[in-house]
């Protein structure tokens, strides 16, 4: 297929629109360890985006207490449903500065269930507060 830059841009816009319209996907396990009632925002730098099943994971370096860096493990849906919602392996790139909306782990540890994100170019994926 002849994929021009304009066409790629259109495809990307459609995929992102799909992603915006879709919330977090079903997990393959109980999600009671995530506190959906106290969803919060975490800002950080993408360390790694694990594009895998049964879940994709976003590893995010963020500032912790006293400025000490903390690596967050942010659990997303499976990649099949994420892909149908417009996400791709390159949606989050190492080094990207992003803001993530998540349901934090009930133990107060740096982990959470992904709800949405704002990319460096301002694009919003999923749901943000």
């Amino acid at each position: 297929m002849n994929t021009t830059p304009a066409r790629r841009s259109l495809i990307r816009a459609v995929l992102l629109a799909l992603a915006v319209a879709t919330g977090p996907a079903a997990a393959h396990h109980s999600a009671t360890m995530f506190d959906r009632d106290h969803a919060r925002v975490v800002e950080g730098t993408v360390k790694e985006f694990q594009w895998t099943n049964p879940h994709a994971w976003l590893q995010l370096d963020a500032a912790g207490e006293q400025g000490k860096p903390v690596e967050w493990s942010i659990e997303m849906g499976g990649i099949n449903s994420l892909a149908r919602s417009g996400y791709r392996p390159g949606t989050f790139k190492p080094g990207d500065k992003v803001t993530v909306f998540l349901a934090p782990h009930i133990d107060g540890v740096p982990a959470g269930l992904y709800i949405g994100a704002r990319l460096p170019d301002g694009t919003v994926l999923g749901r943000m507060p």
């Binding site: 393959h28 109980s30 360890m33 879940h55 493990s73």
Partner: protein, 268 residues
Amino acid sequence: MRTLIKALAMLVLAAAGGATAQSDATSKDLPDWSGIWSMVGPTVFDAATVEPRNGLAGNPGVRERPPYTAAWEAKYLATIELVKKGLFPDPISTCGTPHGFPRLMNLPDVYEFAVRPEQTWIIGENGPSILRVYTDGRAHPGPDDLWPTFTGDSVGRWEGDTLVFDTIGIKGEDGTILDRTGLTLSQQAHIVTRLRKIDAETLEAEILIEDPLALTAPWRVTKRYRKQAGGSRAYDYACAENNRNPIGANGETLTLDADGNVIDILDE
């Protein structure tokens, strides 16, 4: 000697073929269920009875109302309490076993329906889960040849454009659930499913469950599947690829960091 063996083998093959009645349907008589399909609604098995209305399976306190006997209702209530505490692991979370039937009709992600005169395959991307429905006229295996399996044994027939199939031999509560509220059945369950296209974009499964141990009356559940856009694909679903949520010793779902260390603060 080789000739004799070959002749015997041919006899065995001929006998095996003769034991299976041929289906009357031909490919051109069969409905077109090609493409990619997605279940309508969330993975609540019986959305008609879920409480609270629109409650999601796995959320604390959500339940359905099958016509359970008192004993099975009590078991279900005990499971619901475990769900509330996060101590009821989904059997499929181990990435080692299939969802089983009838949960196979209640999956996230997508489905494919491969229809042939002699057999239909219902293929759930999630799992992956495969249900084989034989429509070549065979009967269920006899008692000595039937043991509980995750999807059981399904034989069926075509009534016009409706695939009607009968399932027995499921594992039931020994390793399967119907959804994350903890609904389950006994190994005595007998399930008749009627699957048909109700319009160009919609398949409907009417599932009638009888279970002399678990239910006081037949339980009827309807599931629908919507056709996805042309060109859609199903993908691999390798659950063991990167499972960072193993089940802990108490049935709790753990979370691992990127190095495989448990993140949770565990009770001593």
